[in-house]
């Protein structure tokens, strides 16, 4: 069955939230709630209460990046110092831990930041081509709800959007 994309624009968050709540509570054949995307000009943390828990996995990238950066830095520094094993060190340690920790700390942060950003790009699906159903009003002051539905559900979805005072509804027939 062919899939359709529908984008509805709302004047404010409350109207969009009401539409999402109704979509969530009703069972519509040919519509999966996970295929609903909310587009907004600002971050709405309260959106999670209506959209449900959706995961953000950036923190795992951060953990990996920070550990990777720190461990790699220490290994490289210690490795380069270990190169002097054959030389006399005058009683001083070949691999002095406290001063090495300074650069390990810096690289811990550097690795953490870089890989966090990589994680952000991966998890947020960026960079991406803009979808065809996009309105510049979303980056101004309107809330957009984008759904992917089967042909059979198009009319019902549109009526829900209209009921909640959607300002504009765009539709695109997909594959």
């Amino acid at each position: 069955m062919s899939q359709h994309h529908i984008l509805a624009l709302f004047n404010n968050f409350n109207e969009a939230e009401a539409a999402v709540s109704e979509l969530r509570s009703s069972t519509i054949k040919g519509f999966n709630f996970d295929d609903l995307t909310m587009k907004s000009p600002i971050e709405h943390p309260e959106v999670e209460s209506v959209l449900g828990e959706r995961s953000a996995n950036v923190q795992w990238f951060t953990l990996f990046g920070a550990l990777f950066g720190g461990i790699t830095a220490f290994a490289l520094i210690a490795g380069s110092q270990g190169n002097f094993f054959s030389q006399l060190k005058g009683g001083k340690p070949i691999i002095p831990i406290p001063p090495d920790l300074v650069l390990t700390y810096e690289m811990f942060i550097l690795g953490g930041v870089y890989i966090t950003v990589l994680g952000f790009l991966v998890c947020a699906g960026l960079p991406a081509r803009r979808s065809k159903l996009y309105s510049a009003k979303v980056s101004e002051d309107q809330i957009g709800l984008l759904v992917k539905v089967d042909q059979a559900a198009v009319v019902t979805i549109k009526s829900i959007f209209t009921k909640h005072q959607a300002l504009e509804i765009q539709e695109e027939a997909g594959k």
Partner: protein, 464 residues
Amino acid sequence: MEKDIRESIEWAKINGDVLKSLESPRPLFWVILVIALSMFGVGLGCEIYQYQIGMGVANLNNPQVWGLYIATFIFWIGMSHSGTLLSAILHLMHADWRKPIYRFAEAMTTFSLMTAGLFVMVHLGRLWQFYYAIPYPSERWVWPNFQSPLLWDAMAIFTYLSSSVIFLFIGMIPDLAICRDHLHPGWRKSLYTVLSLGWEGTDRQWRNFRMTYLTVACFLIPLAVSVHSIVASDFAMSQQPGWHVTSFPPYFVAGALYSGCAAIITLFVILRYVFKFEEYMTLPILKKIVRLTFAIAMVWTYLNAVEFASVWYSHDEASKAVLIQKATGIYAPFWWMMNFCGSVVPFVMMIKRLQTNIPVMFAVSLLLNLGMWLERWMIVSPTFSHGYYPYLWDNNQWPTLVQWGIVFGSFGWFTLLFMGFCKLFPSVSMYEVKEMVYHRSLALKHTERNLAVNATELAEKGAH
């Protein structure tokens, strides 16, 4: 109580005002740009001359090996801390008044770090050998000294600069998407299209954006502290009189936050006028920065006093001699000026009606930064002119015009980069200002509703 921002401001107007700043600033913008370009030209000319002739033209010698270059390097590193303070620390503290002003503070961080990095090169003299500081595997297996604070410095600054650029860029993505959507077709639109990475403001993007921004902010705070502590270690880990002081790292960090805050006030005043941001960079916000700056000024004054007291009561005669020489020798006017600007001038900020007086605060912020620049110079030069050995005593050095010219040029370079950034990218965060307006209007509605409920309840009680 005055409001930080008007809650009823329309979101479309926020977009419009900020986008207008990218296209039509006041004519003063071009005046500033020309002045900055001229200053940069002077600095560049001096650097070319020094490059051709050698470091002798800067009057750097043994023992006066550092001079203005390193003093100004520390000054610019210090300035960079403002962005971290406003973006990261105040972000974690949920101080939403920072939202209209944090973007330019972040840009300031980036450009002051870039300026500071130039001073390392200028000081190096042999520019073409800067790569000696990079730990690359050479055929002789010779590595930099990983135990040296100078190498820590190079690494810390690189980490801080690249993290700051990333932080600035990530925080700007939603605004770049606004620019992409609302500007007329042209090279700018193409640039914003590429840089906005296809941002559409989906819930998935916002969710990950929030997590990323918070995480990078958490990394930046200890990083900023470590960077200036490491710069302080360049001094404190040596045995030079006047430098081997335990309190140097916190003293440097406080000084950095202080000069950064003062610079925020200076740039706040300039941007507010040049880009017509009176609606966003409001007087109540200025008042908050002024109060914050005053608090940091007092911390710095305290740590300054601690430093003097530690030297005075330590019975370290060489350090004591340096301190006496600072207060009575050739550097005395600058040392007293530093104390006056850094510890006395901030008391103007205590006067309530002056806290929102723009010309006064502009002048005060410039004086504070003059004091902070002098502080760095007074840390570097007097120690070299009064070391442990008698042959070093009274080895005073006055910087040549080449040194002054390069320092002067660095301000032009910074201004050029900063003003260029503000003309090319939104210097007020549109989406964060919208968030601020949204949350404040919700809070206002909530308060009004509660008041109405209370009034109804009271009326009902009265009826009974």
